[in-house]
């Protein structure tokens, strides 16, 4: 059983959140968001991920609430299918297969049973069309939706470039310098275009469009930062527009508030701008949101708005433009210069986060632990501005010291800064201890601490190598002055060089006695006590790309990889080459807990993984074609408890897990477990937690109030109410009698509980029937709209127990419905 399992490459670290506009649920309690191949449901109040709905085979490109049932959600994906979800339970209801890539999804309340999608035009590259898809009614989960009718041709590929106007009367689409407005009723297409020439340095290209919810007004964003408000576009000639200008760079997204009085816009500046009454003089700002704004969406009650940022973050903002909370995923910066580093203290993966920040990303809980501000300077969001960023990070063995290097690319010479941080137990965070300006005259290529385990304090040494042809040794010096603020600081102890070659890599042996520094083609080995040069190795031609020492039983070996595609292993005792292999190694990563070393090679568009022990030239494990992308970085993360795989082949994965990052910024890992095992536990647990009502008492009270208000409207449920009336006096008495005249609680308890029992049984039978009817026929039932979510939850849990006794008292039409329900798949119930 075990040997049959193959090692799978698993994507981790969550997908990009900025795939599509986020959607608020109708009651603004939940936030739905496309995340890679999944749709995530977040709680707005707790920021927690409540559901992870998977089923699409490719990126989700659009999500929209079902306009006829706000408990349902449509999602479209690049795999060519539209799915209808019940997002409260996280189950797919239906899947419509369209058959071609879907790039955006729109729904309209007025369109009875069709949705609008953007698809690529057949036979032509880079041209897209907006089509309406008729969602066929039919039994079964998987349906074909082939009835497509083209609405607009030549639209943009992005979801931001199409917007539907007031009550679905028209649709506006922008592309390049053209605005198209199509009126559905009149079947009229108006085209407006701006001058393509760049006037006054401005760029007239459209970037996004939004429609006023109540008036005939279209807002468009432009590449030069202008926002234009179009009116009177029914006429081909007499149209007017006014411009609002604040953004200095492209307007990334626009959104109108529900009443249309406010317009929100955002862009690269990462400032959310709120325009009042479409006038340019009245505007509010919410600055420093952290990173460029990709999408803006509003909740239907107008109380909240959320922005999706390019760095995988969702910010939820109050209606009075106050920052409320943020949901942070793994930040995928364009260039992970720091490499993948593991924090020894938290076992978190550490890498570049926000510009100038270091992110600590917890792999187990899939969330960011914290973000450490390293550069500590104001980041200016402006395209093309070179600002300081973090390039190197190193932790000491126990995680008490952190060394960071930041640099700013300059024309003349780079601005370098080496910072040393000490972990403070009291504040549980890193505190800046020493800052060294220009530690090297040129770029720093590598940095490492001497790992001495328990003897850490006085033996701690930091080595940096630079392109200025030297490596420097930094030591901790104790300040003897008792009145000084801090007791230790760092200073340079030794400067070494070798024939004026650029130093490229450095590495300490496991016991810390030897330091290996590579200088272009040569590896030099130094004694770490006297700083004498002990020996040199080289394997010409080709510069040394990576070096590392063997560990544990293999500590006498030094491994190096060269540019010209050789992996060499030198014996430090005999000073001779032990073995070499012809491999183009990109990443060389030793496991800190065993003697295994992982090497990733890149050859003709595929990455392969080799795991070997230095003392034997034959690899233990080979996986060819690990992934199509080039793997840039890898890291072994120690497991909390050793994995119990019996297989001999995967013994190297027992104590630590291998993570790697590709050049498309995908974080991947290797797993022996099948997919289901990995996913189910967390989602199950959340489902149970969430369906717990707040308190039984409040639930009871809430129900009573609602019922009373519905009494006048809803005559059909009169019978149910009467039954309640019988039960309620006991409760009413309990609630309205002053506490000091009430009998003891033990006397009241059975009465109270009895009243609860009766009311629940009667009511839920009726309502479940209603509920089922609504779901299958999709009739519009206004009274259902008001229903609370908690109520829904409760009813869903009662499905199971009631299914058996629902037979005799139902009418014919209801029986028909029941038959339909029986056909439906209830396998998901077993999950509860």
């Amino acid at each position: 059983m075990v040997s049959a399992r193959a090692l799978r490459v698993v994507r981790c670290g969550g997908g990009a959140l900025s795939g599509a506009r986020a959607v608020f649920s109708a009651d603004s309690k939940y936030l739905l968001c496309a995340s890679g191949d999944f749709v995530k449901v977040y709680s707005v109040t707790t920021e927690e991920t409540l559901r992870l709905m998977g089923g699409h085979a490719d990126l989700v490109t659009g999500i929209q609430l079902n306009p006829h049932n706000h408990m349902q959600l449509y999602s479209s994906s690049l795999d060519g299918s539209i799915k209808l979800w019940d997002f409260m339970d996280g189950i797919p209801i239906k899947t419509f297969t369209v058959g071609c890539k879907l790039l955006a999804l729109y729904t309209l309340a007025s369109a009875e049973d069709s949705v609008f999608v953007v698809i690529p035009k057949k036979g032509e590259r880079d041209t897209f069309q907006l089509v309406s898809v008729k969602l066929t009614k039919g039994a079964g989960q998987d349906l074909e939706a082939k009835e497509l009718s083209v609405v607009l041709d030549g639209v943009g590929a992005s979801a931001k470039q199409i917007a539907f106007g007031r009550e679905g009367e028209y649709v506006a689409s922008v592309k390049e310098v053209n605005l198209q407005v199509y009126f559905f009723k009149r079947k009229l297409l108006n085209r407006f275009s701006l001058r393509a020439v760049k006037t006054k340095g401005g760029d007239n290209q459209f970037s996004c469009v939004a429609c006023h919810p109540t008036e005939d007004c279209i807002a468009t964003g432009h590449a030069d930062g202008k926002i234009r408000l179009w009116r009177n576009f029914h006429h081909k000639k007499e149209y007017t527009y006014s411009a609002l200008h604040w953004h200095h760079d492209i307007v990334m997204d626009l959104a109108f508030s529900m009443e249309g009085t406010r317009l929100l816009s955002g862009g690269v500046e990462s400032v959310l701008v709120q325009w009042h009454n479409e006038s340019s003089c009245q505007k509010d700002f919410l600055p420093r949101l952290g990173s460029p704004i990709e999408y803006i969406s509003m909740s239907s009650d107008g109380a909240l708005c959320c922005t999706l940022h390019t760095d995988n973050r969702i910010t939820i903002i109050n209606s009075n433009l106050r920052f409320s909370r943020s949901i942070q995923g793994l930040i995928k910066s364009r260039d992970v210069k720091t490499g993948l580093v593991v924090d020894p203290r938290t076992k978190a993966l550490v890498m570049n986060g926000e510009p100038g920040h270091l992110q600590f990303y917890c792999l187990q809980s899939d969330q960011q632990l914290f973000s450490l501000d390293i550069v500590q300077r104001q980041y200016i969001h402006e395209a093309g501005l070179k600002q300081s960023d973090l390039v190197k990070v190193a932790f000491s063995a126990q995680g008490t010291w952190l060394a960071t290097v930041e640099e700013r690319e300059e024309v003349t010479d780079p601005e370098l800064e080496l910072k040393l941080w000490f972990y403070e137990e009291e504040t549980q965070s890193f505190k800046l201890n020493t800052r060294i300006n220009t530690p090297h005259d040129n770029h720093i290529t590598d940095m490492c601490f001497r790992d001495m385990g328990e003897l850490e304090d006085d033996s701690l040494i930091l080595v940096t190598t630079g392109r200025d042809c030297v490596f420097k040794v930094w030591v901790m010096v104790e300040d003897t002055d008792p009145e000084a603020q801090q007791s230790v600081s760092w200073s340079c102890d030794f400067v070494g060089s070798y024939h004026n070659y650029q130093a490229t890599n450095c590495c300490f042996s496991e016991d810390g006695s030897l330091l290996a520094v590579s200088f272009e083609e040569t590896v030099t080995v130094w004694d770490s006590v006297t700083w004498d040069l002990k020996c040199m190795f080289c394997h010409p031609p080709g510069n040394i790309r990576n070096i590392c020492f063997g560990r544990l039983t293999c500590s006498k070996y030094l491994i190096g990889a060269t540019d010209y595609g050789f992996l060499c292993c030198w014996n430090l005792l005999t000073c001779a080459l032990e073995w070499s292999a012809h491999l183009n190694i990109v990443v060389l990563q030793p496991d800190p807990l065993s003697e295994h070393i992982a090497a990733v090679s890149w050859l003709s568009k595929e990455s392969s993984l080799f795991v070997f022990k230095p003392n034997e030239p034959r690899p233990i494990y080979i996986q060819r074609n690990l992934c199509k992308e080039k793997i840039l970085l890898a890291a072994f993360v120690p497991r909390d408890e050793p994995e119990t795989t019996g297989s001999e082949k995967y013994l190297w994965l027992r104590r630590s897990q291998l993570f790697f990052l590709t050049d498309t910024q995908e974080l991947m890992t290797l797993s022996t477990k099948p997919l289901e095992e990995r996913l189910t536990p967390s989602s199950k647990q959340l489902a149970v937690e969430e369906s717990l009502p707040v308190t039984p008492f409040s639930l009871l009270l809430g129900k009573h109030r609602r019922q009373q208000s519905q009494e006048d409207i809803d005559l059909g449920k009169l019978v149910v109410h009467n039954k309640h009336e019988q039960a309620s006096p006991a409760v009413k008495e309990l609630l309205h009698t002053p506490a000091h005249v009430l009998p003891s609680a033990s006397f009241l308890c059975p009465i109270f509980i009895n009243s609860l029992l009766i009311s629940k049984e009667n009511k839920s039978t009726e309502e479940v029937a209603d509920e089922v009817e609504m779901e299958s026929e999709k009739t519009e039932d206004d009274s259902d709209e008001e229903r609370d979510v908690t109520e829904m939850e409760q009813e869903d849990t009662s499905h199971m127990e009631l299914l058996g006794e629902m037979t005799c008292k139902l009418s014919k039409s209801q029986e028909k419905e029941l038959r339909k329900i029986r056909k439906m798949d209830y396998s998901w119930i077993s999950a509860f």
Partner: protein
Amino acid sequence: MAAYKPVVVQACPKLGEKITQDTLYWRGYKTPVQIKEFGAVSKIDFSPVPPYNYAVTASSRIHIYGRYSQEPIKTFSRFRDAAYSATYRDDGQLLVAGSEDSSIRLFDVSGRAPLRQFDGHTKPVHQVGFLSDKYRIFSGGDDYSTNLWDIPSATEIVSYSEHTDYVRCGCASKVNADVFITGSYDHTVKLFDARTKSSVMTIEHGHPVESVLLFPSGGLLVSAGGRYVKVWDVLKGGQLLVSLKNHHKTVTCLCLNSSGQRLLSGSLDRHVKIYSTTSYKVVHSFNYATSILSLALSPEDETIVVGMTNGVLNVKHRKPEERNEKSQKKRQPAYRTYVKGRTYMPKQEDFCVSKPVKRVLRKYDKLLKSFESSKALDAVLEPPIMLHTPEVTVAVMQELHRRGTLRSALAGRDEKQVNLLLTFVARRVIEPRFTPVLVTVADMITDIYQPVVGQSAIVDKQFLKLQEAIGKEIDYQEELLEVLGMMDTLFATFTEKRDTYLEENKSNGLAETMETNRND
């Protein structure tokens, strides 16, 4: 969402003197008052009782000065030859002095003629002092002997002739009335007990002893002689605790401050050094015009009086404490407002609204926050910031450069402002910590204002000044490199050849060269 981050101003540790609590304390003296005496000032002694007058022995006179008087309030001049070592008794009533004519005289501070005269020494007496029981006097003379005198009867109690050279200094214990020490040119310090017939302890200092001092606790002994100041543990039988060599000429006088936490030493090398008595590190040092012979500190460290070889008495008074508390108090809100609501505990049903903490930003930060580059530069070019904290100006310039708006901030300025900018750049461009930024600034200014060169005499002058400053700096650096080259050769010859000498330690600076050699 992050708040605005203020500009980071690089705090460079200043080279040389570090600002410590001690530096601030010892700097808190006014400019000295100089008083001319008749000869070299050999001894200064403060009266232990208020108003803390002090007796200054110079040539054949003893002058008594009041605390702030620049003229002596009293003079004892009944000496035929030089007087030495005028010392007050503990109650400040009596004064004793030795003299060149080998006699010791005892004066009443209010009187004029000597009360007693003690004869017995055969050579000049350089050291006299009271024992702490107030009724006995010890003395040391050039006849190598140390004598003990009874004041009421004016007779010699005991005479020790154990030293083999002139006895020039001494000190009585404050704890025990029978114990005193003397230091002599025979390189020894001897501890005497009046109850025994010979010395109790001998300490070998190694140089002619110029001054000795006992700590108030009586446990530690400090001796000065040659260039050394040595501290000895008396209770451990005269063990050497620490040897300080911070002067480069003979140390002539020692003194403790009133708290006993700091030790002062004066030397012929014109310096007074202040040591911490816990770490025995120099915490501060004073510089004087000529060689120092004597030194005294008044109670509460109010006054430092230093006597020189050229007969100048240098008196430094402590600055009065800052009195601006009054004006500050005015601005503070009333106590009632201050404590209002501080003790209020919110009840359970209360809804707490926290007041947002207001962050105070500097003016340039406010302007930078609103992207007003030119105004931000203006704000840091104001004279107080530019003169006293040039690092702030440079930090803002660097920030503007990072934002790419430095050029536009520098452009469009009038003659006065350009003049101001150029003055600043020309003055600071040679400072290593500012050079990288200011070179860029200078480049930009030259670029921008090149077309208007020749239109204003003031600006032209500043440009020339800048050129001159940079030229000088280049010459200086070249010279430094030459010196470095020379030193490298020297160090290379010093380094012993080893068989495994494979490394090539290229050194970039002097400090690193030293470092490398130490490690070798």
